[in-house]
Each structure stands twice: as C-alpha cells, then as structure tokens.
C-alpha cells in the first residue's frame, strides 16, 4: 500500500540515527574508570567491586528498566554464575575466560527456564516468583554443601592468569583491569541491544503491552529473550566476583544482594544503562565513606538517601542539568529536538 505520491521526507529524521551514536560523555566515563586504576591503584579492590556491581546493575536495567519486569530475585543469576565459575575453576580449568563463559552459560540457562514463570500474572505475582526462585536456589546451594561448601563457602578456587599472561595478584590491579574489560565489552553488547529494534520492542512492552501486541510484537518471546540476556549478564558479574576473589559463598544468592542491586539501579536511574554504572559508584563510595564514619549506622544514611532520591525523583533532579545541556545544544544549532520544542512553544 505504498502511496502513489510519496510525501517529502522529514528533514530532521537524522536525529534518530544520532541518538545511538557514541557520545563524548561516554568516553569520559570510561576514561575515568581506567584512570581510577592508574591514579588510585591501592583502591583497586574497591574499583573491582564497583565494576562487578555495575555489570550486575546493568543486567537488572535490561530486565527492569527496559522491559519493565519487577524482580526481587536477580541474585539468582548472579549467584548461579558465581558458583558455576567457582566450581569450574575448582574442578576443571583455571582459565578465567573459559570460566566466565561457563558462568554466563549457566546463568543464562537458569534465566531461560525462570523466564517462563514471569510471563504471566501481575507485578505482585512476578515479585513473588522472582523472590521464590532466588530463595530456592539459595536453599539448594545451602543443602548440597558437599558441592558448594554450604555456609562455609566454596574454598580452593584457583585462577590461572588472564589470557595466560596476567596473573591475579593480591593488589587486585589485574582483577580490576579484567573486570573493567569484561564490563566494557558486555556494556557494548547491552548498548547495541537497547538501541536495536528488539530494544525498542522491550520498551514498547514496558510502556503498553496491549499496543505492543497489537503491532505484532511477540511479548512472550521478547520477555524470555531479555530475561535470559539479563540473567547471562548477571551471571557474568557473579563469575567475575568468584574469579577475582577466588571464593563463592551463599550470600551471592541472598536476598540482600537482590535488594542491593535494585537500590543501585534506582540510585543511578533506570532505562539508560549508565544508571547501573553511576549507581554502583555512588552506592559503594557512599557505603565506604559512611561505614568508615559511622560503622554501625551507615545503613540509616544510605536508606535516607534512597528515600529522598525516590521521593524527589530523578526527573526533577536532572531537569536543570538536562535543560542546560539542551540550551547549549540549541545555541550550537545541533539539537533539532530542542529546536522543534522551542518552535512549538513559540507557536502557542
């Protein structure tokens, strides 16, 4: 049904293509992440924790921020990846990348199976199902202590050098460099996915399931796919933790870890991927600072911060910043969004 006279193309549609282009601020973020290792090498263990937490939060962003699936059990996949990589290193190969692949595969498999349980039902149902799946895995790990080490944790995880060249040391520099590289690569994967047609279909499902199905989007298949992908990335984060700390313990499957990653993502903001990175930095740095200042009550302040942020809302906190960015862009004449917004304001 092509119209016989094709209307002239809209002049500004290039804006849409530019939306997926790599931005200057993104380079800044990753350069800063790299500089952290060079400027503060003695904090490498902390940076490593942040990188792992960021990857975990990004995996949750795919599921929660993009597809709109509320989950209180995302640690199920983190923990699965963690134990899979740890057990693989203990019993099989010591190569980190092979172990990482095993962690990803195991978590993806569990995520795939679990995804069919979040297809139906209300948000409350989904919260309970995700919570339940994580609890079940936690108890399985607890029960089979002959394999997992139970409450004592899994000892004897021996890691070989990365690519056969870089051995993990006590100073955690190699650990951070390794985690940062994995984070960056998987971030790029997630970044491609969210800008792709599939990524838009996810956001469509989040915004309006009825309409999504009405334009031919297979809601169920998309949810299975993103849940599996999110689980795979969470599994990668868990594998990184096992490999860089040479240890796995039950808390990787615990409710606290599911709750923390949710908190991290809410802190940083959902639905733009960098929320996971920024949230992880804020969470761990604030947690470190607060626990040094008031070792017993730091969670009070963290809780207060979260409540304030959620009540005020990201939208309101970042508005000033966004309007500033928009103004600069308009002055430079590079932002058709701001232009058309300004035109329609004038027209009123």
């Amino acid at each position: 049904m092509d119209p016989t006279t094709r209307p002239a193309l809209a002049p500004n549609s290039g804006e849409f293509a530019r939306a997926s282009r790599w931005k200057a601020y993104e380079t800044v973020i990753w350069v800063v992440a790299l500089l952290a290792l060079l400027v503060f090498p003695r904090q490498a263990a902390l940076w490593n924790e942040i990188a792992i937490l960021a990857l975990f939060a990004i995996s949750l962003d795919l599921v929660l921020g993009y597809a709109g699936i509320l989950t209180l059990g995302h640690a199920a996949f983190f923990g699965t990846g963690c134990y899979a990589a740890a057990l693989f290193a203990k019993h099989g190969m010591h190569d980190p990348l092979a172990g990482l692949a095993v962690g990803i595969a195991a978590a993806a498999a569990v995520g795939f199976v679990a995804s069919f349980m979040v297809l139906r039902g209300s948000e409350l149902t989904r919260l309970m199902v995700t919570l339940g799946v994580a609890s079940i895995l936690y108890e399985i790990a607890n029960r089979f202590e002959g394999i997992t080490g139970g409450a004592d944790g899994l000892q004897g995880v021996v890691m070989g050098p990365v690519l056969g060249l870089f051995a993990f040391g006590l100073d955690a520099k190699v650990a951070y460099a390794y985690s940062l590289c994995v984070l960056f690569v998987l971030f790029l994967v997630a970044r491609h996915v969210v800008h792709s047609p599939f990524g838009f279909a996810l956001k469509a499902i989040r915004d309006n399931r009825t309409r999504a199905a009405a334009i031919g989007i297979d809601v169920g298949r998309n949810i299975v796919a993103v849940y599996t992908l999110g689980a795979a990335l969470a599994g990668a984060a868990g594998a990184l933790l096992a490999q860089t700390t040479a240890f796995a313990s039950l808390d990787v499957l615990g409710f606290d870890r599911s709750a923390d990653v949710m908190l991290v993502l809410i802190l940083g903001g959902t639905g733009y991927l960098y929320g996971g990175v920024i949230g992880a930095v804020i969470f761990r740095v604030v947690q470190n600072a607060l626990s040094a200042w008031t070792p017993q009550h730091w969670q009070f302040w963290l809780g207060l911060m979260l409540v304030v942020i959620v009540l005020i809302g990201h939208e309101r906190m970042t508005r000033r910043w966004r309007s500033l960015v928009g103004r600069v862009g308009r002055r430079r004449g590079t932002s058709p969004v701001a232009d058309s917004a300004a035109q329609s304001r004038d027209a009123r």
């Binding site: 049904m1 849409f16 939306a19 838009f200 334009i215 031919g216």
Partner: protein, 251 residues
C-alpha cells in the same frame, strides 16, 4: 461470492453472566467500507477485542481471508494483517512519534527482533516512518515525547501506527472519539486516503461520519446484530431508528 476479508461466525462472550456478545455473525467483504454502530454498551469494543484476540470467545470462529485465526494470539493476527486502533489511545508514552512509527514499521517488515544495528540507523524503516509522519501531519512533533503531544496529535499517531502495519483488515474503534470538531478533519482525511484494497470496519457514534464513510452498516444492540445492510437501507430501517436514533416506535 468471494471469501470475506474477515468473517466472524457465532461469536459468544460473556462477563460474569452478562452476555456482551451473543451468537454474533459478521462478514467484512474485501475492500469494504463497513461501519458498526450501536448504542453505548452494545458490545462493539468487545467485538473488536474478540476479533483481534485480546479476548477469547466462549464460542464461535473467526476467519481472516478464509483461514481460521480463532486460536491465534494478538501479535500473530497483527502480522497477518488484522490491525486495529483503540478507542482510548494506546501509545508508548516514552517514545517519540518517529520512534513509535519506526518500531511499528520494523515489526511489519519482520526485523522487529533484530538485536544489533540501531533502529534509528535502519534507513528503510526510518524513511517509511518519516513518510507516515508527513502523511499524518506529525512531522513538526516527530522528536517530542508522545506524553507531551496534544490530544489530536496523539489520536493521529494512534491511527498512523495502525497504517504503519500495512493492514489488510483495519478495525477503527471510534477514531475521532474525543477529538475537537475542528481537528477531526485531519483524521477523516487520512481515513479517506486509505488504500482501497484495505478492508475497513469503522466503529463510530458520529452518524455524519458513518454515512459519509461507509457503504455498508451493521447495527449492534445488546451484544446481538440487529440489522445489516446498505447505508440507505439502514438509514430507513425503523428498528434501527427505534433503538439507535432515539425515535421510539414502541407502544
């Protein structure tokens, strides 16, 4: 007689004992301009929901071009060309009109599950979306979030999404509902410009619009088909006048 574009036979659906649709049979001819009218609560929207798979009928069959689609989920029906608009806008609030239509075009083109190259860099679908924006007078707001658009513009987008799917059968559920009279002309123009091979079922309250648009009319009352015929015949039908046009002939 050729196979109807869309045929529903003996459709039944009840909600908690109230029959919203009772043994309803309706045929939509190829290339039809068919209107479905009836008072509020007659079950018109329920029928659209049954036809598009949003609801499952308790009895009856639905055929699209002679193929049984009764058991198909909504998205499969949409991919086969059975497309609808909604009486109450169903849009993606966080999207811009350009993103919305590019997504709809990508779905229709069968590349909706691709995971790598950005949607905005797929020139074919973006160009197609931009052409639709121009056709639906949405070019000036193409980069604004849907949640910021005026109601009339959202209504146009609602219809544009359906057209982006290149429907074979288009079900329009009160397309001008809530649109100020001055702005409805734009919507009517776009409806008049639909390709003639698209079969259209229009659900509408506005009788002017119905008689201007449709050549065939079905009248629904209390979940049942009361009358069906040419626009002229329906306009003269005393039963229709009685229940729908508010002229009482009952004793």
């Amino acid at each position: 007689m050729s196979t109807p574009a869309l045929a529903a036979r003996g459709l039944c659906k009840s909600f908690g004992g109230i029959a919203a649709t009772q043994d309803l049979t309706i045929n939509l001819a190829q290339g039809a301009r068919h209107a479905l009218i009836g008072p509020n609560g007659a079950g018109k929207t329920t029928l659209v929901n049954l036809l598009t798979g949003l609801l499952a009928p308790s009895a009856g069959t639905i055929e699209l071009d002679g193929h049984d689609i009764t058991a198909l989920p909504t998205h499969r029906r949409a991919r086969k060309g059975l497309v609808r608009t909604f009486q109450i806008n169903q849009l993606f609030a966080a999207f811009t009109p350009l993103e919305t239509l590019a997504l709809a075009c990508a779905q229709r083109a069968g590349i909706g599950a691709r995971m790598w190259r950005a949607l905005g860099r797929r020139a074919a679908v973006v160009d197609e979306a931009a052409a639709l924006l121009a056709q639906f007078h949405l070019t000036d707001v193409m980069h604004r979030p849907v949640s910021e658009l005026a109601y009339g513009k959202r209504r146009l987008l609602e219809i544009a999404i359906a057209v982006a799917a290149r429907p074979r059968v288009l079900l329009l559920d009160e397309p001008v509902a809530g649109v100020p009279a001055g702005e409805s002309a734009e919507i009517l123009d776009t409806l008049a410009a639909l390709p003639t091979d698209v079969s259209v079922l229009l659900i509408e309250h506005d009788m002017d619009l119905v008689f201007r648009f449709a050549t065939r009319i079905s009248v629904m009352v209390n979940g049942m088909l009361l009358a069906e015929g040419s626009a002229d015949a329906i306009a003269r039908d005393p039963r229709v006048r009685a229940v729908y046009l508010g002229e009482s002939h009952h004793g």
